[in-house]
Amino acid sequence: MATTPVLPKLVGERVKRREDPRLIQGRGTYVDDVKVAGMRHLAFKRSDIAHGRITSIDTSAAEAMEGVEAVFTGAQIAALLAPMPIGTPFPSPEHRAVAVDVVRYAGEAVAVVAASDRYVARDAADAIVVNYEPLPVVVDTELAMTGKPVVIHEAFPNNLAVPLVPSGTGVTPDGKVDDSAVDRAFAQAEVVISQRMFNQRLVPNAMEPRGVVAHYEPGKNTMTIWSSTQNPHILRTMIAAMTGMGQDQVRAIAPEVGGGFGAKINIYPEEYVAAVVSKQLGLPVKWIEDRSEAFVATTHGRDIIAYVDIAANRDGRVLGLKMRLIADIGAYNMLLTAAIPTLTMLMANATYDIPAIRTTLTEVFTNKTPTDAYRGAGRPEATYFVERAMSMLAAELKMDPAELRRKNFIGRDKFPYQTQMGAVYDSGDYEKALDLALEKSGWKSLIAERDAARAEGRLVGLGLAMYVEVCGLGPSSSLPTGGWEHAQVTIERDGRISATTGASPHGQGNETTFAQMLADQFSIPFDHVTIVHGDTAVVKQGIGTFGSRSQAVGGTAIHLAGGKVKTKMAKFAAALLEAHEEDIVFADGRLSVKGVPAMGKTFAEVAAYAYVPVPLPPGLEPGLSDEAFFEPANNTYPFGCHISMLEIDKDTGEPRLLKFVAVDDAGNLVNPLIVEGQIHGGLAQGIGQAMIEEAVYNEDGQLLTGSFMDYAMPRAIDFPRFELHATVTPTPVNPLGAKGVGEAGTLGSTPSIVSAAVDALSGFGVKHLDMALRPEKLWRIIQGGQA
């Protein structure tokens, strides 16, 4: 007779995040909580103009202030620190961590102060007098491409950081371009839709701004660096390289990190400067970014213009797609800046079987804060452009937007699917996700509801968007850091489990999900498992958390390391129980012999034996600890369908979201509660982009939306209750079947919302709207000022 398991199966269950109690009770330790004896505080003097030549810097008043330890100008930092490194293979202009001769965006550091406390440091920074010879400023991306009114980096004519990279159908790996298939598609098409679209610049705005503590210990010649980062191991690599130290001499720690959203992948000037200043002074130093700095000194996201052309037959069959992408990367290349828009090209195929695609990418310097990864990083842009084009096509053909998409899907029998863009989609069933979204939203009745509202004179619209994204980054061929993830699983002497992960969660909940997995794998209580992350002295190796990779890649490494230890533990149990290793069963906190549950030992007893193995079974080393590096063979490609209903106030132009239904397929889910939390956050940021968020510069290069008074962040009152549903299409890329979900919410939501707004205003002849959906912009359309 089967016995009821005492321990519940946890994988797949809605286990509450174990991280939350400490975080919501203020008991987490963030960088700003780190205090080291003798620590000095840094403050950066920043440029208040967007482009200018530094003619003089007077630091004497600052240096004379009581409590000021040292002041370093750009030139003095340059003597200690090589130019900023980047992580992409594109050519890049020299970028000094602290500007030496020329400042190229408002907010660029020009000097740094080390002082006894933060207040003195700031007062001293304010006391530094910098004179500039102003240079012309360019903020308009397409104007910058003409080289007018100024070329920002001499070696990059017309401000072209990346002149023009083609990709897609007929492009060979060595860059040869054959346009015949694309040209043929457009020549044959019965309908061609062309639209300029803009995916606007955003400010990431993590709850916790950046911060760093660098502690160089001269006696040991070691550096410990705490930073609010998504990837402490990459930080260690870069700090070691830039300080001339060995990786063995540098320890990087990411304590609690209050959100990253991609903007904390980059290794920033302030991190390098803190390290070299600590080394120079022989003192620990701390820098905490304030919110005003975070708006200008932390990388921004998006800012891509696309000229989109889509060619189709009247029956809705898409024949070809062209996307000419122009990415405004701001004043400098940061770690991944140049690579982000290439992901927009990579995902141009979207969920569709499009016979011919041509994309080109140009990257442009302007006098703005540099861009880099921001939640979704290139894929939301691709989704937005393609899905908006599909919705425009549906409107032109007077087809149901769902049916147009269905007609063009990559069929469920086509996976793995080689796209025109070079991606191999691992698995997918787009029609299933669409059908579930249509069913759960009540699409047919929503249409009736919309039409009834319109009959009353209300401006109500519906939007539908599919998405597919590339997640689970690696493999190593795609990342200069390597694309694997590492884990070490140790069964302690008392039978509890410590596991380290090279993923560096900062909101993803891996302390919970990885513990769920190990508790199940060993059949021990969830509370007996601790997940350790974020400290390179403890976590031997790692890459980090970005690209929705921590579960798919990091989770798999945990699973594989756990499997190795489990095998070894079974050998110890076999010796203890005088049974065959393959007959050992792990169940309910015990190891016993298959079919003879009474013949067994507790988990703790076997663990204790492994550490005092008398007698030592032949062929075994003592101890129960092993590691795994998981190198995925491919990325994962989660997908979904987002449906929205929106009403625009006729008098004011204010859009109001009435309904939002999301179907997301992230493969197998370890913890649906956490997955839903990730989707909620992603939706908030995607809907935020569609409706209210935008970084706006004036022509002098000043960020007009430089505080929360002017940069609109979405709040709970901006949203209806999200209605979430899931389909499950496991990935074959990893043994968990998990695809990743951290960014998904930002993909389908933006085109869905904008399509709903366009639909609501279709009576005014509107075919497309740029984000954000400002009330005044919509009001002008309603007033007939723009059609």
């Binding site: 403050a43 207040y119 005003s292 004011t652 939306t705 929360f708 008074m709 002017d710 009330p775 009001w779």
Partner: protein
């Protein structure tokens, strides 16, 4: 965000606060939700802060002889949720409840908002529509300033540097409402209109309308008030009168051009009047 150095003094009484004001030339700190953000970005660098938050009697809502008095240190949340305000003067609860977000409403105070004179603040419109008096204390004693005279310009109010707002007093009006277009980042008013109607039988005896956000400071829409006086209390009347709503000087910024704000003035005037009418 690191302010410049300042001294902090806690006043134990109104008299103490006035003495400290006179001797230190400091800035009054109540909820800190206007002053502290400016200090953080070093746009305001007071050398002394005089904290009045714990002065007994400066916060609270009471009814006296048919009027309502609200102490200067009463939080927006307290005003928005007070049964007395919700029963007798729901417009004011609406205005208070639309300020910022819950954290702001739990800390920010009525007196602080009025003293700051932000052209986009919600309270001034309500004070104008209620014909409230702002009650001040200074070295020479008490002064009561009608709201109509109090709001003078951008961040400018009739309050001397040595004076303190101690509260407001008004006769509650049930038939009043507040309608606003919120700026989507700050949640301040792009246009906010408070309208109060005195209706006798089926006719409007008089109307008072205050507007905020649209112009350099909160002001009354007297043309609309006159157009309503003596007219039947109907939707048609308010629609007609609201269409007359306009201001001479209208703000323009990233969140709303002058043209847009001008167009929104009659829209929110009508909505506020409709709301007031619905309470008749």
């Amino acid at each position: 965000m690191i302010p410049t150095s300042f001294d902090y003094r806690r006043a134990s009484s109104i008299e103490d606060a006035l003495n400290l004001l006179a001797s230190t030339r400091g800035k009054i700190l109540a909820g800190g939700h206007s002053l502290v953000p400016l200090m953080k970005v070093r746009l305001s660098e007071p050398s002394v802060l005089i904290d009045i938050a714990r002065i007994p009697g400066l916060s609270g809502i009471r009814e006296t002889g048919g009027a309502i008095e609200i102490g200067a240190c009463t939080t927006h949340h307290a005003v928005a949720t007070a049964p007395l305000i919700n029963d007798r003067c729901p417009m004011l609860a609406e205005a208070a409840g639309s300020i910022g977000d819950p954290q702001v409403r739990n800390r920010g105070t009525l007196g602080g908002s009025l003293a700051h004179g932000d052209p986009s603040a919600d309270y001034p419109a309500a004070m104008l529509a209620l014909d409230a008096t702002i009650q001040l204390q200074g070295p020479n004693g008490a002064r009561a300033v009608p709201a109509t005279d109090f709001f003078q310009g951008v961040f400018t109010v009739d309050l001397a540097p040595d004076e303190l707002i101690v509260g407001v007093r008004f006769t509650p009006v049930r038939t009043a409402a507040y309608a606003r277009l919120r700026q989507r980042a700050s949640h301040f008013a792009i246009v906010g209109v408070a309208a109060s109607l005195d209706v006798a039988g089926t006719a409007i005896r008089s109307a008072r309308i205050g507007i905020t956000g649209a112009g350099p400071s909160a002001t009354r829409l007297t043309t609309v008030e006159s157009a309503l006086t003596g007219k039947p209390a109907t939707a048609a009347t308010v629609a007609e009168a609201a269409a007359l709503a306009t201001l001479d000087d209208v703000n323009s910024d990233l969140h709303g051009s002058e043209e847009y704000r001008r167009a929104m003035i009659p829209v929110f005037t009508r909505r506020a009047l409709e709301g007031a009418l619905a309470r008749v």
